[in-house]
């Protein structure tokens, strides 16, 4: 028989407000196995934990039940408390009387009654708990960073600087990501390239960092500390280690009409190209969709002009298998498509552009060499209208926009407006806004400067329709302050398109078994306390793949993710989850049902000798669980016809005891 201690937490008034904690503690005293019952304001506090420790010693407790907040919140805390008092941490059960009781019920009697049942259920379970000891597994001391934007770069650099090897997998031919496309950064107006490209060089030169550019992760197996990852290195038809990046081929290639995706299609590149001057690796890549040699075997100019003999038209996709201890997702974001927002005439006029396109228009390395010219006719625009929240905060139309605020648009729009007025004082600049959101250091000051010093016209209201008429774009919108409908004759309209996670994130999340929210942003292990970790052990989150972020936030989160990775890789052994499957060999039929449903391949079979009747020996095929690989889902326990397979910590008997306690 267990000697169980029950500890009922008030959580201030969070629990005590709707649950009579004294009554709960009193009622649970009479449950089987309970020898001690107490209540306290904050069980998770130092004093509360001390109370538990004392009770464990004083009453010789063999198990404890804490009636408190969700086990997702403080189960670890109380397990540590128990361990500190010499009790096996897996002899702790939590009754969730906050999130699943006091917070959802208003009636004291109802809340109290339910809390007692939840407490009783936890007691019924802990009566059947057994001490568990976690197994250990080794750690591969290498990290994988998926995505080579500023988030991935910063994470990789920080991990590498701590002395661990890091591989970056980037799907594009160069690292750099979105930041490489940005002109200037708010609120300091630093040139983005000036602060990014040195970091790209650092990555290239770091002896601990390897870049898999033009590559994708196609398979992930294993678990924290021991991931097996398959990387597809897409054929770039150029030998990466031979190409000197001289760029001669990119000038001689006769295929001139290839939309330049780095400039968002606003100008053209050749079929063999280096995305931009500071690309890392600075290696040419052939676009197989446009290359005549690859399509019909007629050309070969690049091979002829290449003095290094780096061109290889026969190159094939290669698959590389690598082992890692930790994986960081840094897959970034993209502006959403404007296809569904044609009230702004994006498809009808070249002079309606997105903010990222505007960024390229303002960039000295962009399609207009930094001169603000209309894409349609190359003329200098005099009246510019910026429209914010295009597709952001859009609740009615899941298929159209995003319900969330994209966070960065207010600031970059202020930046665009300010830069336009700064460079071209002859312009009139209007910004239609719903709200201007500028929480951040020097952010509001920046926005106010745009208005007060640079004379940007901020209009509280939204644009309803943009109509291309003649050379002009008639922007019809409301001015809610003036209570007027405006019709502005604009030359250029810039849409602050909502941002969304990169499309590669969803399949990656599936491979990583990492969870995502409804918008396909990765979810954190805890939104406040573990913001850079995925709930899947060994998977970390860096940058906008977790939610919209600006550069400073991205870089700080990237560093935080790196520090978590470093913490993991610094360990020689990982203690696993002891709640793993276990097969009772005496009952096992060897039927392979469990093996078939195990997602991790944790179950193997062995022929074992057993004593049969009349002094005979029987050989039976029995299942064996590799505890380092088993993640404890319990699927095998149900597949097993004989019930030989059970799950430690969530044993059938325990769950049935819980069922019984609830239904009592």
């Amino acid at each position: 028989m267990q000697r169980i201690g029950v500890f009922v937490c008030w959580c201030g008034s969070n629990i005590a407000g709707t649950v009579d904690v004294v009554k709960v503690a009193e009622a649970l005293k009479n449950e089987p196995g309970v020898v001690h019952s107490a209540n306290y304001q904050y069980m998770c506090s130092q004093a509360g934990q001390e109370l538990i420790k004392q009770a464990i010693k004083e009453h010789n407790l063999t198990g404890i039940v804490v009636c408190s907040c969700s086990p997702r919140m403080h189960e670890q805390t109380f397990r540590k408390t128990a361990a500190a008092a010499g009790l096996n941490p897996y002899m702790v059960e939590i009754a969730n009387i906050r999130e699943q009781c006091s917070w959802i019920h208003k009636d004291m009697a109802e809340g109290t009654e339910k809390a007692i049942v939840l407490g009783r259920t936890a007691i019924a379970k802990v009566n059947l708990n057994a001490p568990l000891t976690p197994g250990e597994s080794p750690v591969t001391k290498r990290a994988l960073v998926i995505g080579g934007g500023i988030a991935g770069i910063q994470t990789a650099l920080d991990i590498a600087d701590a002395g661990f090897e890091v591989d970056i997998v980037e799907k594009k031919p160069t690292i750099g990501g979105k930041m490489a496309q940005i002109d200037k950064t708010f609120p300091t107006l630093d040139c983005a390239a000036c602060i990014l490209t040195p970091k790209m060089v650092d990555v290239a030169q770091h002896e601990k960092i390897k870049i898999y550019s033009y590559s994708e992760v196609v398979d992930v197996k294993g678990f924290v500390g021991n991931f097996d990852v398959t990387i597809k290195r897409k054929a770039r038809y150029v030998k990466e280690d031979v190409c000197t990046g001289c760029g001669l081929c990119t000038e001689k290639c006769p295929m001139k009409k290839v939309p330049n995706d780095f400039n968002l299609g606003m100008d053209n590149k050749r079929a063999i190209y280096i995305p931009f001057a500071q690309a890392v690796p600075k290696v040419a890549t052939i676009d197989a969709d446009y290359c005549n040699m690859l399509k019909n075997g007629k050309c070969g100019v690049c091979a002829k002009v290449c003095t290094a003999n780096a061109i290889d038209y026969t190159q094939k996709d290669e698959f590389v298998e690598e082992k890692y201890g930790a994986i960081v997702a840094a897959t970034g974001f993209n502006p959403i498509s404007m296809d569904k927002f044609d009230e702004y005439a994006y498809s009808q006029s070249k002079d309606v552009i997105t903010s990222l396109e505007f960024e390229r228009l303002m960039n000295a390395a962009g399609p207009t060499a930094g001169k603000l010219l209309r894409p349609s006719d190359g003329k200098h625009p005099h009246t510019l209208v910026f429209v914010q929240c295009v597709g952001s905060r859009c609740a009615s139309c899941a298929e159209k926009g995003k319900e969330y605020c994209s966070k960065i648009c207010c600031m970059y729009t202020a930046k665009h407006a300010m830069l336009t007025r700064d460079k071209y004082p002859d312009t009139d600049v209007y910004v239609f806004y719903i709200d201007v959101r500028t929480p951040g250091k020097q952010f509001d000051e920046f926005y106010r400067r745009a208005v007060e010093e640079y004379g940007v016209h901020y209009i509280k209201g939204m644009v309803g329709k943009v109509s291309p008429e003649g050379e002009k774009l008639i922007v019809q919108g409301s001015d809610l302050i003036a209570n007027k409908q405006l019709k502005i004759e604009a030359d250029l309209v810039v849409l602050a398109a909502a941002i969304e996670p990169d499309k590669s994130a969803r399949p990656l999340a599936t491979m990583l078994t990492a969870s995502m929210d409804t918008n396909d942003f990765f979810t954190e292990a805890h939104p406040k306390l573990r913001p850079v970790e995925s709930p899947t052990a060994g998977v970390f989150l860096s940058g906008a793949c977790q939610g919209p972020k600006d550069f400073p936030e991205t870089v700080s989160q990237a560093g935080a993710a790196a520090s978590k990775v470093i913490g993991l890789l610094s360990k020689d052994k990982l203690t696993g989850n002891p709640c793993v499957a276990h097969s009772d060999e005496m009952m096992c039929n060897g039927c392979s049902s469990c093996e078939k449903v195990c997602p991790y391949g944790a179950i193997t079979y062995a022929d074992k000798e057993f004593r049969g009747p009349n002094r005979t020996t029987l050989i039976r095929r029995v299942a064996q669980v590799n505890e380092a690989i088993c993640q404890g889902c319990g699927c095998c326990t149900v597949a097993c016809p004989s019930g030989a397979m059970d799950l430690k910590g969530f044993a059938s008997k325990q769950i049935m005891a819980e069922v019984d306690a609830i239904c009592k």
């Binding site: 296809d339 044609d342 009230e343 005439a345 943009v466 109509s467």
Partner: protein
Amino acid sequence: MKVSYFPGCTLKTKAKELDIYARRSAEALGVTLEEIENWQCCGGVFTTSNDEIATKLSSIRALKAAGDKGQPLVSVCSACHNVLKQTNAQFNNDADFAFRVNNYVKPDEYNGETKVIHYLELLRDVVGFDKIKEKVVNPLTGKKIAAYYGCLLLRPGKVMAMDDVENPTIMEDFIRAIGGEPVIYAYRNECCGGYITMESKELAAAKSKKVSENAKEKGAELIVTACPLCKYNLDKHAEDIPVVYITELLAEALGVKE
């Protein structure tokens, strides 16, 4: 094949071309428009309020008549189509409305299963623009035609679900199918003023003028529409640019106009 057909009041009087050419063209394309019996006026506009029952009963009866034959209900007038589709959607999404409606029409209860499609949808989804292309004998080659959707054909987008509300292509594809060259202009899905012409000629004039100016400015020689009221407003108040019905254009292209 055969489909149920709801012509609507205007098609029997002021917009006979819309009706006649719709039937002839459909016949030429292998579809028979079977006019449903004893149809009543749809009312011209759909009242969005959920306590409005009586004004929607004529639509329900039409829907029921088509449903009994197991046919989709086709209309060509944008207004009729809009009312029928919206009424059908309300019937299927608002159980209270459905209950009350069926109380009125007892014992001829409607089950909500009829599919409402516009003549253009019939051409696109049932006949297929490719097939129309094959059957064209007088292609409108080189003719720059501006499709005018107005508001009733597309909105509310969630209910009408015919095409992208802001960037539709169904009429442009139709124009291409009969050999013409579509002209894209921003006002193609803006309102012509509609029934406001009764209340304020000035407002209707301003709205429809804007539409035809914009179409002309983008190079259109001709505007096509599916709505008699749109045609009226554009004809009455707008720039001198011909406005014709989609069906007339189709009949001409198919060589069945006369």
